[in-house]
Symmetry: C2
Subunit: 256 residues, 2 copies
């Protein structure tokens, strides 16, 4: 967060004051000496964002694939070297690239995702565990909610939050979590992903690519995300409000 | 909206029921016979979205630039022919392209925007007009808010709403409005743009590209959007809540 001088207007008039505004900065990732992508993000955990982004996009599989990593926070650069150019990296150049819309970046198409194998997992969660995890995420987020402009994501077991991250972009918050998992060698594929944001098709496809079987959001899904969740084997839970929630796909993982 | 069969869980157990989910579909724009871009969007007003997107991205300047336009709603295709390939279109191929993240698509970089001339406008708005416009947008949005997953945008004069559009993507909602303005030959550059979403740098740059001098949101801006608004001559108003709001840049357009 950063203080900005603003005018606050109300019925009584206006006053000039300093107010907290959520930070947004371009972060450019250089991969093996080449400018790779620029993300618009909240600069905290820049290293984890870069690592998680490369994993989410299939450029690396583990933290050991990285031979060197250097962050220049002031300039907003991350320099990543990988051990030997992977096939994925070579193929990646064939795709078209852009920076995202502050919500992260999606390089793959929804159509590509239909060729993916469905997520396989024996993970189960109970009604109370869903309610409790959502409540915990909201409590954590509330601490940082002064600025009103931030998304949060958390990686959890059915009973506890392992990592919690925030960013102006829904996708970035998830990628920071992916980066933390990779660095600390925490398995992501048997966990629950919570997000504060709406579930559109790209966040669903990202979840499937990471092999996460259970996605929970306070917010609403779209029709396309519901259809993809059904097809890709993901249990999609949305609209968690108070003691109530909706299960949109694969309810067999929820013990009611 | 579309009805989906879901399970709703609460403390008393669960029941299967039909619930409204916001529609999300891929819309592929073909420009002069070439596949141009695929947007993930809410399919209403697909034609206006395509027209607005092409205008926002600088591919057309007016509706007269379009020699033919055909929408295949079932397949999610829009076929646009323009009168003579413009220079912009030729240059456009040099840029890298991707579909956005359900929030619309941003092809230009934040750095590009720094070369833009600041928005010039004599538009003024009063304290009460800001409050009233925001209230009107919220009332309109409330009608459609059953699904919880939608963004809205409106083009207004200081005293009334001219167009109101919704989409799962903040950018798409704005582009639908741009399309309506083009088709109906309504000037956009001397109006006020209202959005339900957070103000990140790309929506700010889009506003500047369209020459809109005043951007109002119920939600929060980021530091980068505040800095760009200052530089690009845009009055940025955020956090409109009840009878209060914040002015982040160019307060000279607001009569307090």
């Amino acid at each position: 967060m950063e203080q900005k001088i603003i005018f606050r207007a109300d019925a009584g008039g206006s006053q000039q004051l300093a107010d907290a505004v959520i930070r947004e900065q371009p972060l450019t990732i250089y991969l093996n000496g080449q400018e790779f992508v620029t993300l618009l993000c909240t600069p905290e955990l820049a290293e984890m964002l870069a690592v998680g982004f490369l994993r989410s996009e299939g450029l690396i599989r583990s933290y050991a694939d990285i031979s060197s990593l250097r962050v220049d926070e002031g300039e907003g650069f991350v320099f990543v070297e990988t051990a030997g150019g992977s096939l994925a990296e070579k193929l990646y150049g064939k795709r078209t690239i852009t920076s995202g819309c502050g919500k992260g970046t999606v390089f793959f198409s929804v159509l590509d995702s239909l060729k993916m194998a469905p997520v396989q997992s024996t993970l189960r969660i109970s009604y109370l565990q869903v309610i409790n995890l959502s409540r915990t995420l909201q409590e954590k987020a509330a601490l940082f909610m002064q600025t009103g402009g931030v998304h949060s994501a958390a990686l959890c077991t059915p009973t506890e939050v392992i990592y919690f991250c925030e960013d102006i972009g829904r996708h970035n918050a998830v990628d920071k979590i992916v980066g933390l998992c990779l660095k600390n060698m925490v398995a992501i594929a048997d966990k629950v992903l919570l997000t504060s944001g709406r579930i559109s098709s790209e966040i669903l496809v990202k979840t499937a690519r990471l092999g996460i079987p259970l996605l929970i959001s306070r917010a609403a899904p779209t029709t396309l995300s519901v259809e993809l969740a059904e097809k890709l084997g993901i249990t999609l839970i949305g609209f968690v409000r108070g003691s109530r929630f909706n299960i949109y796909s694969h309810p067999e993982r929820v013990q009611l």
